[in-house]
């Protein structure tokens, strides 16, 4: 017997239009986030990702279209945000207040218990730093505090706007792993924006590519990343080379004496160069770099 399971829509955006002083920041954007998914919202700077996230939360008004967050319009009904956690691009919380107190008040606003604060601190890996004022934390800990803040109130959905920006590679991987764990082990649905595609690919079950306020392409990572830029790199120690590049968030395949690296776009080439510099520091000599094919840039151009 064929079993059909309907996924519960967490976020529905239909024909969403947002303008700033006559300039369209979102142009008839439509996409859905279903329960249990990790949706990666990818696009270059200025694509409209942050605007879309804020419109989805009801923080920004829309000129047209429909937004339904957990079955309610967030613009009209603030209860839509009750079970939603948010990690903003700049992790800012009231600066002088100890993180634990901020989380306690956030819990109180969301109708959650103090136990949930302890749980959120533990889940976000903030233990030992929770009594420090937010302003005194390092960038990585601020991000963790922002994640703990989003986790308070047992959210079923977390919106994270560039959660790994301004973090070092090690901290980036930690945060991405944390998102993956929270989705897998706690069933939290995520909408994560980023301009670094390989990062999103690590965790996303669905990818939405935006450019100039429009959704250019969406689907599973395999569907979206069908024909990405690839670089074939030859080096003296292929194993170490592959390891270092992998550490920088790229998908790597070792093929004989070379490694094949998936690069989502031209904007990621600096990251790859950084990876190669680090490989050089570990004693790897790079013999050649050949770019194989490019199609995601073409996808983005179609959107414009």
């Amino acid at each position: 017997m064929l079993m059909v399971q309907w996924l519960k829509p967490i976020l529905v955006c239909e024909d969403v239009v947002k303008e700033y002083n006559g300039v369209r920041a979102l142009d008839r954007v439509a996409f859905r986030v279903e329960e249990g998914e990790v949706v990666g919202l990818v696009g270059p700077n200025g694509a409209g990702k942050t605007t879309l996230l804020k419109v989805s939360l009801g923080i920004l008004r829309r000129e047209n279209g429909r937004v339904e967050l957990l079955g309610r319009d967030p613009l009209r009904d603030p209860k839509a945000r009750e079970k939603v956690g948010v990690v903003f691009e700049r992790p800012n919380l009231p600066s002088a207040v100890p993180v634990h107190r901020i989380l306690s008040y956030a819990a109180s606003i969301k109708g959650a218990s103090r136990d949930e604060v302890r749980r959120a601190i533990k889940l976000a890996g903030l233990e030992g730093h929770e009594w420090k004022p937010f302003t005194s934390l390092s960038a990585g800990l601020k991000q963790r505090a922002a994640i703990a803040h989003a986790l308070v109130g047992s959210p079923s959905f977390i919106i994270a706007d560039e959660p790994t920006s301004n973090l070092d590679p090690v901290e980036r991987i930690r945060i991405l792993n944390l998102i993956g764990e929270l989705n897998r082990d706690h069933g939290i649905t995520f909408l994560v924006s980023s301009h670094i595609l390989p990062e999103v690919v690590r965790i996303a079950s669905k990818i939405v590519i935006m450019n100039r306020g429009k959704v250019v392409k969406s689907g599973t990572p395999e569907e979206v990343l069908g024909g990405l830029t690839r670089a074939r790199i030859r080096g003296s120690d292929v194993k170490t080379l592959a390891e270092v590049i992998r550490e920088h968030g790229f998908d790597v395949e070792v093929q004989g004496f070379s490694v094949l690296v998936k690069i989502p776009g031209l904007s990621h080439q600096p990251v790859l160069l950084e990876a190669l510099t680090n490989a050089g520091r570990r004693g790897v000599v790079i013999y050649s770099i050949d770019f194989v094919e490019a199609s995601i840039e073409a996808e983005l151009m179609k959107g414009g």
Partner: protein
């Protein structure tokens, strides 16, 4: 609308807006000022005592509300903390009312009540003669402080810059007081409307006359303009602030 959630936001934002150092030092200075004023110029009537203590305090409170309260709101917008508040399950109306309370009303009440409390303790026999008149004068200064604070918040939310908000707030304060001074000094040649305006623009003068009436010393009544001028500005500024925040404000 649930009242509990905005109330919790008031507490959270108050912890940030009244953070040390600044507010605590201000409280100490104002408490000392109240004690000094009550000691060096001992008054025989409660309404005179309240006026002596609160006259210099109001200027300090206005400066605080402009430099810390209003510019703090501009920082809240610039640092995108306002978006964190707006991501809570609280309506825009709830958020702005919480901010008005935490950035204006609570600091103004605390800063003005402290010297009144100190002088009241030091000269309690004077206060107990007529506590109603004492509180009437206090409410006048508080209302005047609320006028400045609400206008400062309106300036801050529109300008979105801490520096601009501070400069414009202080400019508004001095402009308002210079206009008042001009009207006051020219009231004999400008006619009775100027005399009424000179009282109306400073609500604590209205409540001072009310205190005198309460004590049976003032026989001439106050006009409607005198009663309503400052409260009307407060209502207009508050409604403008609420409408701007709920209908036009975009935290970009």
């Amino acid at each position: 609308m649930s009242v509990k959630r905005p109330f919790v936001l008031v507490v959270l934002d108050s912890l940030d807006s009244m953070r040390p150092p600044g507010f605590d030092i201000m409280m100490l200075v104002i408490a000392a000022l109240g004690a000094v004023m009550a000691t060096i110029q001992p008054a025989s009537q409660s309404y005179i005592l309240a006026r002596l203590v609160l006259e210099p305090t109001l200027f300090t409170v206005a400066l605080y509300l402009g430099l810390r309260g209003a510019s703090g709101l501009a920082s809240l917008v610039r640092q995108q903390i306002i978006e964190v508040y707006m991501s809570y399950p609280i309506s825009r109306l709830g958020v702005i009312i919480s901010i008005i309370l935490s950035r204006v009303v609570i600091p103004a009440v605390m800063l003005l009540a402290l010297p009144i409390l100190i002088s009241g303790i030091l000269l309690y026999p004077v206060v107990l003669k007529d506590p109603v008149a004492y509180l009437l004068v206090f409410s006048g200064y508080l209302t005047q402080a609320l006028l400045y604070g609400i206008v400062f918040l309106l300036i801050a939310i529109i300008s979105r810059s801490s520096g601009t908000a501070s400069v414009l707030s202080i400019t508004f304060y001095f402009a308002y007081n210079i206009i008042w001074l001009l009207i006051q000094s020219l009231s004999s040649s400008l006619g009775s409307w100027a005399q009424h305006m000179a009282i109306a623009m400073k609500f604590y003068r209205v409540t001072y006359f009310m205190a005198l009436q309460h004590a049976g010393l003032q026989t001439t009544g106050l006009t409607l303009t005198e009663y309503l001028f400052v409260p009307s500005i407060i209502v207009i500024a508050t409604v403008s602030l609420v409408l701007y925040f709920t209908r036009r404000f975009e935290p970009t």
